[in-house]
């Protein structure tokens, strides 16, 4: 018996590791190793199609070139603008939707399902859909705004700022419901008696929202902000389908620029530097957010 007991912790940790190892192996091979490889590649000059260049080690050259690259600077600005506009709008819409579907009413399940549909639609389909809606001739937007006055029809996606706005709109439509779900989960954690107490004290609806709902919703809002920022930073499908980065460079985002340098132009070293830069920015952002959420996420995970 004593022998058995002495073996148990050893056997338990052996079992624990055998349970974690397969998942860890897949994660390391297809997520962690690639990041390290990207970092390594970004220190080389490798151009597919120009094998005579070899793959010489050039140290930080690609990063220095990146800092001076006007297209990259534009892509960074567009990406930051996209992240800012789309996440703020998504949080606002998500909050409104969450407040609506938190209420009790007949057919709430159906309403929730209907609101989730844009989130479930493949992004590529949503992108084609919005491209079609804002089509210069057959588009629903023109039909709705101008009806029969065909001469007033606007070629929406050919104007830089309109195209940017439409890409933002498509993203907001697609993902507000996801933000709403995260916020809804936060709403459900707020105990009802708080509202009752406030009501007894004579607080109006706006005051209850301002002083109970918003403060207690902060962790959920921050979490939604975290998820949405990360996703907005990684936007690709929308741009690929709707605008290909254009018109001009109006919707040229970092991920699309990285894709072009790596896979269209075959500049492996430089493209890897772009990817690593995007990675580092997302990493920095997520560390800031995790600080703000107070690492409560990780704390609670610990048994």
């Amino acid at each position: 018996m004593t022998r058995h007991q002495r073996l148990t912790p050893y056997r338990e940790s052996l079992a624990a590791w055998s349970m974690v190892a397969p998942a860890l192996l897949v994660t390391v091979t297809f997520a962690l190793y690639p990041v390290v490889d990207s970092l390594w590649l970004s220190l080389h000059r490798i151009v597919i199609g120009l094998p005579q260049l070899g793959n010489s080690f050039v140290g930080p050259d690609n990063y220095l070139a990146l800092l001076r690259d006007p297209v990259a600077r534009q892509a960074l600005l567009v990406t930051l603008g996209f992240v800012l506009c789309s996440t703020l709008l998504e949080l606002a819409c998500g909050l409104v939707i969450a407040l609506v579907i938190h209420e009790r009413f007949h057919g709430r399940g159906l309403v929730r399902a209907a609101i989730l549909i844009p989130w479930a639609i493949p992004t590529v389909v949503a992108s084609q859909l919005w491209r079609y809606i804002f089509n210069d001739q057959y588009g629903f937007a023109n039909l709705l705004l101008f009806g029969n006055q065909v001469t007033d029809y606007i070629p929406w996606l050919s104007y830089p700022s309109l195209a940017f706005g439409i890409v933002v709109l498509a993203d907001v439509w697609k993902t507000s419901s996801f933000a709403a779900l995260l916020i809804l989960a936060g709403l459900q954690l707020i105990p009802d008696d708080l509202y009752d107490a406030a009501r007894v004290d004579g607080a109006g609806a706006w005051q209850r929202f301002r002083h109970i709902t918003l403060p207690l919703l902060k962790p959920a809002l921050l979490l939604a902000l975290l998820f949405r920022t990360m996703d907005a930073f990684r936007v690709f499908d929308l741009v690929f389908v709707m605008t290909q980065g254009g018109p001009g460079d109006a919707t040229q985002v970092l991920q699309f620029y990285g894709y072009q340098t790596l896979f269209t132009e075959g500049r492996i070293g430089y493209g890897s530097a772009v990817s690593v830069a995007v990675f580092l920015m997302i990493l920095a952002l997520s560390l800031i957010y995790l600080r703000a959420i107070g690492s409560s996420l990780l704390e609670q995970r610990r048994t």
């Binding site: 624990a16 998942a23 997520a31 579907i101 995007v278 990780l298």
Partner: protein
Amino acid sequence: MSRRILLAVGILVSVGLSLLPFLWFVLTSFKSQAAIEAIPPTWWPSGNLGFYRSALFDHRLFDYMLNSMVVAGSTTILALVFAIPAAYALARLTIPGKRGLLAVLLCVSMFPQMAIAGPIWRLLDSLGGLNHRWGVVLPYVALTLPLAIWILASFFKELPPELEDAARVDGCGPWGTLFRITLPLATPGIFTAAILILIYAWNEFFFALLILTQPEQQTLPVGIALFQGEFTMPWGELAAASVVATLPLIAVVLLCQRWIVSGLSAGAVKG
């Protein structure tokens, strides 16, 4: 009273804005080519099924569907096979460095696809996985594992530990306890994780675009993104293909709304 009106307006606006844009695609898919190309375009379709026929047979929609089913199905199964034991170990067993592991997983779920795309392409090139459906399944599994593990671990943790303890006292090892006690109890959690993985794998575009370059292996999103006519955009066929690509997901969402909501909340906010 005003509160009820406000709620009704809120419901109408959010449901309307969610559904109407896609409804335009649905209407388009049943129109005739002439009705689509009319300027101004007509509102209502004539109930024409021609676009579905030509999308299915002239535009390889069949192949895309089949590929998406194979890819999404295998991703879901493999990801669950890897995630379930890992989540159980992280939720219930003592592992040195558990916090670090969870932090790493959280980081992985935030990786921009770009940061790993080039090396994954090279890796699959050397493994012979380019232009094979399994070539996208492996990265999909890696990228969905973090979310699956987080969701499953939080479900496992909410189960009462007494049953597991009893099994352990009776001499059941950790693997035995997982399979005989925890798994049957955690079916809703596993179901939730499966739905989320399935939706991800069905919709993913970036890696599918890079890895599957032959039309015979491409998935629905790639097929739909690269849907081009020679001279004009075949909007009718595209709308039909989009409806076909989306219907299974709408069915999943309608049927499983409850699990999706609880899964996302459990995986995220409740911690």
